[in-house]
């Protein structure tokens, strides 16, 4: 049984790019984002964001993070606060935010992303 469209949580999709010397794997990206959100906002608040790494391209180091629409600002702030991945300095650059993956790809990930759904 599926949930009625009106009852589904509204989402926002955030396109981001990882700036780092080298490359990180999908699992590292997931861990880093969740760790930062939990560290800064606390477990209780971070659980409301509904953070989910929808897609990640390990070659281009670009990804799509989905979150609850109400907490879009907090999700972007969490990405902003990331300063390292493992022992390497890194930054997560937010490319744009959209209400649908299709629009997000059209507007911010134009050069034909090769992302795989997780």
């Amino acid at each position: 049984m599926s949930i009625a469209p009106t009852l589904r949580p509204n989402k926002r999709y955030i396109a981001f790019k990882v700036n780092i010397n080298g490359a990180i794997k999908t699992q590292e990206a997931v861990k880093t984002i969740l760790r930062e959100a939990t560290a800064f906002f606390g477990e209780n608040t971070a659980s409301r964001f509904g953070l989910w790494l929808t897609e990640f391209d390990e070659q281009k180091q670009q990804g799509i993070l989905s979150c609850n629409r109400k907490y879009k600002g907090e999700a972007v702030a969490a990405l902003t606060l990331i300063g390292s991945v493992g022992s390497s300095d890194a930054s997560f650059q937010v490319l744009g935010v959209s209400g649908t993956i299709k629009a997000l790809k059209r507007k911010f990930l134009k050069d034909g992303s090769n992302m795989s759904a997780l």
């Binding site: 700036n19 907090e74 972007v76 702030a77 606060l81 300095d89 890194a90 930054s91 650059q93 937010v94």
Partner: protein, 204 residues
């Protein structure tokens, strides 16, 4: 949304990337940066000091001046430099004098980015205190990244969202990102061009 970052360090001071690299990366991020290395006429000058005497020794003409006083006496000396950007913990007395001498308080994101635990908690506490007094006494707030490499720079959108999370209103965040730094730069350019004769007289 525009972001003018007045506190970026290149290899001319204690930064890790060259000016060209930082400028190119800032362009990609759609933000505007100024260096506070003090190496060129277009730079800001950063002074860290303990006593008024040390401040006097280091002062020289620059587009803008970032002051980091390390004692209470030094903080009260720093407000004598009009239109300076001051990096300290505000108190009511200091905030009132700063507003009177058109000084701005710096809200640096560097201590928050990539840190955790006690360091970040202290940085957040400092931001909250400064925000409280800056609002009460009308001290302009200035947002900076304090980036020492290209990986420390952030997009205007990211800075805006972080400022909102830190408790700034929409208008305060936009003003801290562009209006306040732009006013500082404009004042610096007028002063450097000899168009400001005194605090109240300007050549048109």
């Amino acid at each position: 949304m525009q972001f003018l970052d007045l506190c970026v360090y290149s290899t001319d001071s204690d930064g890790r990337d060259s000016r060209a690299v930082l400028e190119a990366f800032a362009k990609v991020l759609s933000s505007d940066i100024r260096f506070c290395d003090g190496a060129r006429a277009s730079d800001g000058l950063e002074i860290t000091f303990d006593k008024e005497k040390d401040l006097k020794k280091q002062l020289k003409p620059a587009l803008y001046t970032v002051l980091e006083p390390h004692s209470e006496d030094a903080a009260s000396a720093s407000v004598k430099v009009k239109h300076a950007i001051i990096r300290t913990r505000l108190n009511p007395v200091l905030a009132r004098v700063m507003a009177g001498s058109s000084c701005s308080i710096e809200l640096s994101l560097a201590p928050l980015i990539g840190s955790s635990g006690v360091r970040r908690t202290r940085a957040l506490g400092l931001i909250r205190t400064n925000l409280k007094y800056a609002r009460k006494y009308g001290v302009p707030i200035l947002a900076t990244t304090g980036a020492k490499s290209s990986l420390g720079l952030r997009t205007p959108h990211q800075v805006y969202e972080l400022l909102r999370v830190l408790g700034l209103t929409e208008d305060e965040a936009k003003s801290a990102m562009f209006e306040t730094p732009n006013n500082i730069i404009q004042h610096g350019e007028l002063a450097a061009g000899g168009k400001i004769i005194s605090e109240t007289v300007r050549l048109v």
